[in-house]
Subunit: 647 residues, 2 copies
């Protein structure tokens, strides 16, 4: 199923760049996002978030750890968790994509400054860590389960790949190549026969192979993928499934354990399969991800229902009030879905990318880009406390968005994703161009027949019109494809019905096509096996999941005090929805379980039907606004829910 592309793809500025597969992604040098929802996020990211992260990493000492390591004092002074080096590398990756996007010379200089710091810490054999190996520290690789050394290299390498793809062969690249060579020595066929407790090195090594052509990196990634699941890591309370070491990758049928680990691993597995022309492995990863989407994913695209181990639960174990949905798992799901789209050519993966970007990744940062959600619950029963602007928060849910965390993987993950977002918009298969994300943008690329330049104009997802104007096109045959989301029943291209993919052939310069999507609000019901949302309805508007926020209820009512009026009409509000609700008079009994209201003493018990309720009385009808979930908690502490009981 894997075909080599005819055109050489080396050099394109893209966050993932397979050497094979159905589709070649267009890079940041070929796609520019020109406006709308995502351009706004890119602007806030560039002007606020990246500097915010840099300032915090200085403040909490994670950058100083490198200085102290170079000075020989880090064993005494080190701050942060065992993986804090990785957050500095992810910051550098975000900067690298931002430089690729805008050429910002200040960030370019900052990357070099930080890279020289890394270089000053790197040992002669390429080993690089502020946490291990010095007098007063634990030895190198003494704790593969939790030490995160290979995980940290992975992020260093991904940052270096961003530089290589931007045409830089700088200090950062040299440091990363030495680290990668060291990994191949230390963990190669003659080395330590184990894996890192947190997958990440796998995807990074394949990408480094792509960016350099050095086969040894691909072979090392293969070793890591094939070793995982063979029990080389210790058993732990959460089980080896926590780090996907319970079952060999080729034998697993679904993703499980720590959600971020599972996503990073799977991104690496897809990359390895593609570069190895291993169709069997690709199909395995495709199925694992498909089953995960069908049974273990929240409506938002969020993944992970266990707080204890930040992990997937069993199939359909998806309680909204205990949803975890780590922001980084969302970033990882985008990485996996995009890679599968490129490998298989199936534009439907764009639905997953879109859902996760709008409803997980975009939910994390506040409007000002200076505070973040680590977890993204679908139901908040008690208003979170405002986090102080100078407070380092635990990852827990008790706070609103926080400026920084003790485990602060999410802010820099959002930053690197937003900076490289143009790399997830469009592809070419040689014969044509595919638009996976419907964003206002300019596309400037080549297909087999010649140059293609496009301009996409749209207010999507606010309205459903997407106009693609052809500025330049080949004279011969070529095809423009646009993803039509699965929910878009009744979509049209220039008035003709389309489903899943809208195609236009042989457009010429000056022509345009208009895709029209029914983005108006719609009702959504859950699979009956998701117990926690039985009898509830959710509302979506285009790709945007809506929520009820207490801010939009009359004073004194929280989101758990109301229900929808059954059979009432739902109005689209242009941004969210307007629904009819009514307050519920709660029983407030000493014991919250009782007989059905019509249960008489001595009567033969009869199963009540699904509409039976312990209390009957209701309040008056209210008209209530539902707002985009990604915007919640930007107006102060509130309660919130996505799934709303239908009375």
């Amino acid at each position: 199923m894997i075909t080599m592309l005819s055109n050489d793809t080396r050099g394109a500025v893209a966050p993932a760049l397979p050497g094979a597969g159905r589709l070649r992604p267009l890079g940041l040098d070929e796609v520019t996002i020109t406006g709308g929802f995502w351009a706004e996020r890119q602007h806030v990211n560039a002007t606020a978030t990246i500097d915010h992260c840099d300032a915090w990493e200085q403040r909490v000492g994670w950058i100083d750890n490198f200085r102290a390591a170079a000075a020989g004092t880090v064993a005494q002074s080190r701050t942060g968790r065992e993986f804090s080096d990785s957050d500095v590398y992810k910051l550098v990756e975000a900067m690298a994509w931002e430089v690729a996007r805008t050429g910002d010379p200040r960030l370019d200089a900052r990357i070099e400054e930080l890279a020289q710091l890394f270089e000053s810490v790197q040992e002669p054999d390429g080993y690089l860590s502020t946490k291990y190996g010095r007098p007063g520290q634990e030895p190198r690789y003494s704790d593969l389960a939790w030490g995160h050394e290979l995980y940290c290299y992975g992020h260093l390498i991904q940052a270096a790949v961003a530089r290589l793809r931007s045409g830089r062969h700088d200090t950062l690249v040299r440091v990363a190549l030495r680290a990668a060579d060291h990994v191949c020595e230390a963990f190669g066929p003659q080395g330590i026969a184990s894996v890192c407790g947190h997958a990440e090195i796998e995807v990074a090594l394949v990408e480094l192979y792509r960016a350099t052509g050095q086969e040894r990196y691909l072979e090392q990634a293969r070793l890591f993928v094939e070793r995982r699941g063979t029990g080389t890591l210790p058993d732990i309370e959460f089980g080896r499934s926590y780090y996907q070491d319970d079952v060999p990758v080729r034998e697993a049928t679904v993703l499980r354990g720590h959600a971020v680990r599972a996503m990073y691993l799977t991104a690496g597995v897809v990359d390895l399969a593609v570069e190895s022309a291993d169709d069997e492995l690709l199909e395995i990863a495709r199925r694992q991800f498909a089953t995960t989407l069908a049974r273990r994913t929240y409506l938002t695209g969020g993944m992970g229902s266990h707080h204890q181990d930040e992990a997937f639960g069993d199939d359909f174990e998806l309680p909204p009030d205990r949803s975890y949905c780590e922001t980084c798992a969302g970033v990882g799901a985008v990485m996996v879905a995009w890679r599968l789209a490129l490998a298989t050519g199936d534009l439907a993966y764009g639905d997953v990318v879109e859902r996760t970007l709008y409803n997980v990744v975009a939910t994390s940062p506040a409007a000002d880009g200076r505070s973040f959600f680590y977890t993204n619950p679908l139901h908040k029963r008690v208003p979170g406390q405002e986090a102080a602007a100078d407070e380092v928060s635990p990852r827990a849910l008790s706070r609103l968005r926080a400026p920084w965390f003790e485990v602060s993987c999410c802010p820099t993950n959002v930053a690197r994703t937003f900076a490289s977002l143009a790399g997830y918009v469009a592809t070419t298969d040689g014969a044509g161009v595919q638009l996976h994300q419907l964003v206002p943008c300019r596309v400037d690329t080549r297909v087999d027949g010649g140059a293609v330049r496009l301009e996409v104009e749209t207010r999507y997802p606010q309205d459903g019109d997407v106009v693609v104007r052809v500025l330049e096109a080949p004279d011969g045959p070529w095809e423009l494809s646009l993803r039509v989301p699965a929910w878009a029943q009744g979509a049209t291209l220039d008035g003709a019905p389309v489903a899943r993919v809208a195609r236009a052939t042989d457009l010429r310069a000056g022509q345009e096509v208009r895709l029209t999507l029914p983005v108006g609000v719609r009702t959504t019901l859950p699979d009956e096996r998701i117990d926690a949302v039985r009898g509830c309805v959710a509302f979506e508007r285009g790709p945007v999941v809506l929520c009820l926020e207490s801010t939009d209820l009359p004073t004194g009512l929280e989101v758990d005090d109301v229900e929808l009026v059954p059979r009432s009409v739902v109005e689209d509000s242009g941004r969210g929805a307007r629904v009819r609700m009514r307050a519920v008079a709660h029983a407030d009994a000493a014991w919250p379980y009782g007989g059905a209201a019509d249960d008489a003493a001595g009567a033969v018990p009869v199963v009540p039907d699904a509409t039976a309720r312990a209390v009957a009385p209701r309040g008056e009808d209210l008209a209530v606004e539902l707002v985009p979930y990604h915007s919640w908690a930007n107006r102060g502490p509130s309660t919130m829910r996505i799934w709303i009981p239908a009375g």
Copy 2:
């Protein structure tokens, strides 16, 4: 509201023995359980569980830790968690109640043997721990948040109190008194002004005060209670609420944080309030517990919905598939409810004791008393794996009942509760006798007017007849009271309707009364705010919560594949229930969320009502047995659920 009792209660063999309050508990010397459900558990406990625990504590080295400590080698050889000493003390407490119950000389000798071991470790100033204070170990009290030193003393002291109440003043008592004196020195007004991260010392010190009359123990308990919530422990990821150090006890309105910690603390608070005639504090504890029952307790009486921190969730955050319901939290809830019954005279607390004993504490041990559940979920989606007979399990849910755990607090907690169970059955207020638990038993006590001897005959909860025969009674006025459970609508005493309490006055020797309770199966609906069970029904039979176990479904069906037939008749089966169910044809779509079946493209969206569903087709009707929840997973791996969807 607190009245001193007229009769001197010192000396009675009871697991809690207030010096004040409305009711005096009858001890193991006054009540003997003679048959039925609980006598069976006591028999298995005596003949299997206690020896099982002793053998495992030897096997995993927790008893050897004391030997090594005495020999000076423990810093090198110590096994188990920081609180493993406490599990040895709880085993001794179980043995002590068993000796009190049966006089077993073998256990009596074993207690002395272990106590001499403890004595050999105890330091001259009374400090006693195998974990801290020696060369190569962390210093004493260097980690109050997690070190559990005071928690361990608490269990040592409770074991000693059991001996004192059985009339023994032995080595164990001497060791415990020296430890208690040391605590008063080290943490007194001039000592360390903090508390233990795990409450337990509080209730133990008040009980030791009761057993010895030494005021200093009561005063030390008061210091600990008043210090808690003042932030003397560090802030942690779970928040200070984890160890109830977030809010002073007198300012808290509900129990929160780690459920076992919360229960042990509250037991101590009630005891302190009672001994101090502090009606305000008693009322505070009463309200906290009432709110916890009304909003944070599962149908089984189980407490705790967070796995991460073994903690209570927010109000109504009670998802069955993520329920934790630690066995020890059930033991703690019994301790609190019983103390509140004694303090307030309200027999309704017996409902909580009964519910929790039948549905949490009795669920933990297997029928053979040699394996245990640590957590007691209300819904199991995937069959647990059988734990190997020689395996030390993590506390996690992935296993069926296990012989032993890395954190093995539950087995010995069950053992000490079962051994002392007769102490939770009956009380006197001087004017009469109150029967809180309806068990076959003999009662031999005194009221103000003279001796009372009773014989209770019943097959309850299998059937609802409870006959109390008077063997001896005063000539003058006295009153017999029997708790009537809240669910027992239509109960009668000798044919006359009774509710909540059934009273008979001035019975004479030879007379009998017959309480008749409608124990037949009944349907139960949840408060609407418990989202996770909306549209579901539970079934109870008397005090016993029933469940659907896949073992009772046709081959190939799991519990999540069926639903109840609405408006079908529920039959009582004498032990459980027989209900009509039908298989549900699941959608198995690529994405588990979709539009309502009647949702047409382009139509104005309308809120579906509560009966709307994504898939319609159903299978044929099945007759299915529901069984007592406490008996589940005794027939091999299975799926299970208590709350069942009503179609």
